[in-house]
Symmetry: D2
Subunit: 336 residues, 4 copies
């Protein structure tokens, strides 16, 4: 039995508590939050769970083997470091930390102590993204040309982070999971429309070593909610609509092929291929439940985290480069 302490019972914490509590071999022993009312809520729902306004109590408790951190990103580093130093395994909310130095320090600490350090990037645990990964890995899409994601809605404005750190992080972690190659350069633009608030809209282009191009459009000020990704390959193409109930992933047997022009044999002609579409059945299990099961296995069975601390680092490095490019109106930045 792995005993877990959860730091933060705000927006995401309750989901962590609920899922860890229904994961076999796991037990939520502690929940901490700086808000007394949140702790009362925990007590009414889970009478046997210990609560405290002092995070150290959970981190240092002998009744805790692992710590899950669901606090604002600015506090991730300090909390995660303290937990690792106390010998606890750590699951940290996305993004992993505010810069790559923090991420690297945590990775070192976990390595040294042979502790599991995992980042809570949720999408790689969804049935839809796993199905797409299967198709990518199986080569069924052919060469990947582009990944284009739109993730827009009205609100919620965050005070401490902009729309990139809030929304684009999902696409960056999905990209990191799907493709072996990693982005090397970025050009990004964005804007603050509400005085005194962070950027609420951003457009990000990521360049990869080969011809793959990825684009991410995030916006907190859209009248409609959209969660849609197009993936174009030389053989097949995908539309992934995360808001669709029954047809999240559609695979189109469409594309182009080149043939020699019959009139002018020195010229190549583009031909179109328009075949059938199919929408595979998608595992509907809650992503976070897959993640909590996997976190347990990483600790118990020494599995390697799918959303490892290294992927967390790569995502943070990319976010920093995106931000720098956006501040310079699209200036090309290396991701390093």
């Amino acid at each position: 039995m792995i005993n877990i302490g959860i730091i933060g019972y705000g927006y995401w914490g309750p989901n962590l508590v609920r899922n860890f509590n229904s994961t076999s071999g796991v037990n939520v022993t502690w929940v901490t939050d700086i808000d007394q009312d949140k702790l009362k809520l925990v007590k009414s729902r889970y009478p046997s769970t210990l609560v405290s306004m002092n995070t150290d109590e959970a981190i240092e408790s002998s009744n805790v083997d692992a710590i899950a951190i669901a606090t604002p990103v600015s506090s991730h580093f300090e909390l995660a470091l303290k937990a690792l130093q106390a010998g606890k395994h750590v699951l940290v909310e996305k993004p992993m930390a505010v810069n790559s130095q923090e991420c690297e320090r945590l990775i070192d600490e976990a390595d040294k102590r042979k502790l599991t350090l995992m980042v809570d990037h949720t999408f790689p645990y969804t049935g839809a993204v796993r199905k797409i990964k299967e198709l990518v890995d199986g080569g069924q899409l052919g060469e990947i040309y582009y990944f284009d994601s739109v993730r827009v809605n009205l609100g919620l404005f965050q005070h401490d982070i902009n729309v990139i750190w809030d929304l684009a992080v999902h696409d960056l972690s999905t990209l990191d999971f799907l493709f072996d190659q990693k982005p090397v350069e970025v050009s990004a633009t964005g804007m603050r429309h509400i005085s005194g608030q962070p950027e609420n809209v951003a457009y990000i282009t990521l360049f990869f070593p080969n011809n793959l191009i990825a684009h991410i459009h995030v916006n907190w000020l859209s009248p409609v909610k959209v969660r849609k990704t197009l993936i174009g390959g030389s053989k097949k193409m995908i539309v992934y609509d995360d808001l669709s109930i029954d047809e999240k992933v559609k695979i189109y047997d469409k594309g182009v092929s080149m043939s020699r022009d019959e009139v002018n044999i020195y010229k190549m002609k583009v031909d179109y291929r328009i075949g059938e579409m199919h929408s595979p059945s998608i595992d509907g299990k809650e992503a976070l439940k897959n993640l909590t099961n996997h976190f347990r296995n990483c600790i118990d069975k020494k599995e390697n985290p799918i959303t490892s601390s290294l992927s967390g680092l790569r995502v943070v490095k990319t976010l920093k480069a995106v931000e720098k490019s956006m501040e310079n109106k699209g200036r090309l930045e290396k991701i390093k």
Copy 2:
């Protein structure tokens, strides 16, 4: 009666002939094309129309008052100049020419001769875009925050121009029509995925003098066809879906407003406003028919072209800056 000669009977020419022929006060007297078979088609449909493989015959004919040019963009300048010099009014297909020097030369020639020179930017003549213009001008959207357009589909690859000159030109001319302010800088990215072919995907961010930001996503390799524009304002927001039959324009009474935080009076709080949506009735008349009527009035009644040669010039200037930025992976370019 205005007699019109039409140069080029390929993709767009037949639409010009059909619409001009059903415009009162206008008569299509000549059609020229370099393809004999196209001319046979003209003859079978319009037995009384004169045809020729020699464009000069139409341009110089005393039986022609105006010339409409529907040929590849590289030939626009030469044909338009010749027509103006022959004293004919000119309607030229979009984009107006291959660079701003050509556009300026044509503008000078038309001014000098007091001839109408109009560009066939079609969207400002659609019921949907006109309705949006009404809302923008009436101030009903409040301050405009962003314009975001997605224009993607599978094909058709053009051999001589890339996806920007083919598709983004529609959004640039729509922007030019809708807003008094004009873009001053651009950052664009794109990619060629088919060997030997021009760029097939591009992402364009336009910066305006104030906080307005415009983004255009064009793609020839999308498995699905999308023609969707989001326009965000401080008061209302619009979704314009050109593929919708009945609800092309939806106006959302949604937005954010700022209020002082009750807990911390030094902090501002973002509030959301979610009201009703309405979709106005849109004039369904064919845009090109509105355009041909307007072209007649520009000649007959000295109306000023809505899609003037100056708007044609601005669009070409922007296309050039976009292209330069794209070649430099998002480098910021002034539009001048």
Copy 3:
């Protein structure tokens, strides 16, 4: 404070317990079920609630003022009668009982004892149906021509009742709420496709005293889930899509009007009117919470139940006539 006992903790019971528990002035004191495991679940969620496998304990408890019945329909009559005879107010799940005699007996008993007897028809408590009621009552739709509902999906087969008693009951109670006039005749058809199971598809036409016609299509064997109602009026028309997140109710300014034919003045011509559509903002509060608040007010403040026992009786009478017609392949049945 009104103390409530809830009989049945299967599919709907948990929703009743949750909503009553968060209704001010109401307290769930007892929950009973014949399944011991269900009661354990209650205890883990609501430690202070009393549970029993014996319904009489709750019904007869001095610590109970009202009973909510969420058991299979065959048991409604016996349980409701017993509760009324014990002097308790009663909320009974839809449909109210298996026939009109049972409904009438319950109505008599409640009247005699001046107790509230209310039926849990949920849709009249949704924001969408309330908005439609407003439009109907305000005369904005004009004369109502038809009400057409499609309510289909895959499953869940009920063993004891057919698709009419399971699904059509929602449309019948919505009709009863929306329109003052009541259906007088019915023609219905249906079919059993799974051997040994009740009818899984049915088509119901209801005739009203005037020209209003209502049609209900229910199906347990549809590959897609649909919850869509068209309402046609002489002035405006509605599409109510209960599965839409943001645009549940769309009001179309469309219709026909008659004019004298100009050619033949003895003939009338049908003209079409196609104006704008608008989608009002809908109150998103959970319907059942509106219902539990209202039930409390019926007891405390002597409000009249919106979904009264008489509406429950009318719906059951209609269901019986529908069933009889369906068994006779569409034979017209009076509803009485």
Copy 4:
């Protein structure tokens, strides 16, 4: 070369002329109409085609081998009979005639003279319906449970026929094409909402010898246009949306199966199967072109008409039974 005369150049006639003229081996030699203006239109489009206001001229012309009749249904019988008696092959617009006696008389005449008599039921010639036929015949849907069609829109009111003869005829001919078994009984309801006009809404249930049930909903007064058919089978289910551009036919691997209940072995349990969906590529060729090609082959190569005069008769018989049932508010009528 087959020479064709076309009677009627109103709504459908121009489509017939255009398609026959582009069918190899066929030539439209005559067009007749009672409206002089329509004939002028023919002349301007097809200068070499002969026109007349007198149908007999075309029917009796030695320059005509076959007659296509696109006039109001009331005139079909007289015109078709005259054409057959003149030794011409006949293609007659749907519905074939106003009653079964007329249909039978035409069938006799054609048989006696060994002439092709074909009905212009268009849907069996569409790529979508042909694909569905393939699936039905291949047994991939399993036993067919139901066919449910919704065909509604605003207008156009016909003066001489009601919504059944205008719209439901499409579904009846599709049913006749798809399934070997034919409906034996019908229950139908409907209503006239516009004074002095025919029924504008109807609901039709068709019973087949086995458990197959078909339902057709047609309406001239709907705010939205819908053309959607659900087909439920024991193995797979289909959604056929004729308004969809890219995904007209979707095949769902969904259904139910029975298994013995583990708790009560005397009871059967319904299990759900939810697998993938796929949407086959559909031949987009114009249906009418397939039909005109086939009509030529029926004459030239003695092929049997897919939409034979017998299918025309069956559809008319069914329409008559539907009408009788509708007039009697759902009374069950035999189709004979």
